[in-house]
């Protein structure tokens, strides 16, 4: 079946521009996670949704980062006034249930480069 998809796969932005990254989770998956992965590092948690409720946004690095999942399916991560330090791969993952040991299914990521 279809996995998690993300778009765009690559995004180049000039410093100061706003960007929007989209995640389509596996249909019916309750939980959705966003991660930021810098070069040579593991994924770092940004935010988590259970259906449409954003239950944890403690990992968002600044108020320039905003995420939503208004209908409990597709999610958008928005970064305002991008900075060079925002350059990274942004990963989305979804899981079927809202339990702590459920398997997360990852998308291919969006590679953001801020010039």
């Amino acid at each position: 079946g279809a996995g998690v998809s993300q778009s765009p796969r690559y995004k180049v932005a000039k410093r100061g521009q706003d960007v929007a990254l989209r995640c389509d989770p596996i249909s019916g998956h309750v939980s959705l996670f966003w991660y930021q992965q810098a070069l040579g590092q593991g994924p770092e948690f940004l935010t988590y949704f259970q259906n449409e409720a954003q239950l944890d946004k403690s990992g968002l690095p600044s108020d320039r980062f905003f995420a939503e999942r208004p209908e409990g399916s597709v999610s958008t991560l928005k970064i305002q006034r991008t900075q060079q330090e925002d350059s990274a791969v942004y990963l989305c993952a979804s899981s079927q249930r809202d339990i702590t040991f459920d398997t997360q299914y990852f998308g291919p990521g969006t590679r953001l480069t801020v010039l």
Binding site: G3, V4, S31, F33, Y35, G40, Q41, G42, P43, E44, F45, Y48, L55, D56, G59, L91, A93, D98, I99, T100, F101, D102, T103, Q104, Y105, F106, G107, P108, G109
Partner: protein
């Protein structure tokens, strides 16, 4: 805050060699433990996970990991690696007692297997 250490950042092996990748975490309570793998050009995917019961966990493609609570470790093993095991391997931990669905990832180990 939870931290996860993967001490081997780069490992190079010949085919048929045995593999052990180290993973240590800092939290002393109940944990869920995961190993994820990212093959070249592919998404992160789950190799195996531990959440309760037998501390020796078997995963896909002949991989296994042993949870040793006294050592705060969850090392990944494979008795005989293949060229197709070349990939990036990530250990991740979360703390279910706090209701936390958020895994903390290690920085990853890059494995190269020579044919």
């Amino acid at each position: 805050a939870q931290s996860v250490s993967q001490h081997n950042h780069h490992v190079i092996l010949s085919e048929a060699a045995s593999l052990e990748l180290g993973c240590n975490y800092s939290y002393g309570g109940t944990v869920n433990l995961f190993w994820y793998v990212q093959y070249p050009g592919q998404h992160l995917q789950l190799l195996l996970k531990y959440f309760s019961g037998d501390p020796l966990v078997k995963g896909i493609k002949g991989f296994e990991a042993e949870f040793i609570k006294s050592k705060f470790s969850f090392n990944l093993r494979k008795p005989s690696v293949q060229w197709s095991d070349t990939a990036e391997y990530f250990c991740a931990v979360n703390e279910p007692a706090g209701g936390s669905y958020i895994p903390t990832f290690g920085r990853g180990t890059s494995l190269i297997v020579h044919p």
